[in-house]
């Protein structure tokens, strides 16, 4: 039997972008991107968010662009 899992951070199995059929992640959509920015302001790793590899690459690019335009913070405190 595996050790009991803690559910402090909920794991998502299905990639949000695949599920919602988003084919292009827009860097201007701060609200969408903010789901993948924890409080500290880092990019959420995909082992936690469940985002597939293809979309994680697009997502990280979009987040970096959004940061440059001050839509998202580089560091939040």
């Amino acid at each position: 039997m595996p050790a009991p899992r803690r559910f402090s951070i909920r794991r998502r199995r299905v990639c949000k972008f695949c599920a919602e059929k988003i084919t292009y992640i827009d860097f201007k959509d701060g609200r969408l991107l903010s789901h993948f920015i924890p409080e500290r302001g880092k990019i959420l790793p995909r082992r936690i968010s469940g985002v597939c590899a293809v979309h994680q690459r697009q997502l990280s690019e979009a987040i970096k662009r959004a940061r440059h335009l001050a839509i998202l913070p580089f560091v939040a405190d």
Binding site: T23, Y24, R67, L69, A70, I71, L72, P73
Partner: protein
Amino acid sequence: MRTYEVVFIAAPTLTTEQLDAFVAQMQAVVQDKNGKVIKVDNWGKKAMAYKLKRFRDGYYVILTIEADGAAIAELERRFRVSDFVIRFLSVRIDEDLKRSEKLKAARQRKIKTKRAPEPQPATEPQAEPQAEPNAAAGSG
């Protein structure tokens, strides 16, 4: 010709008239270089996530442009020279959009073939020739 998305942030000290004049000027620059401004999206004054040049907010303007690289280079040069553009970013989006369209089209096809009652949907897409006489020739 390529499609670009050019975003710039103008200083909040600008009046709306000044901003409109600047945007019009930039459109003229693009047209000068045989480019086409497809869309101008003005978000208005928006709070920024961090301070830029001691400003806490700024006017966000997004230009969707169909032009060559030379037009973008000129546009960026103007942004750099200009006093009140505090940040800008130009992104080429035609390839991303193309891929996005392709994926969407592929998904549509998949849905169609799934719903088709025939055993070989790829070769014979039409379900009932009588129902859709025109669609049978075009769909594939």
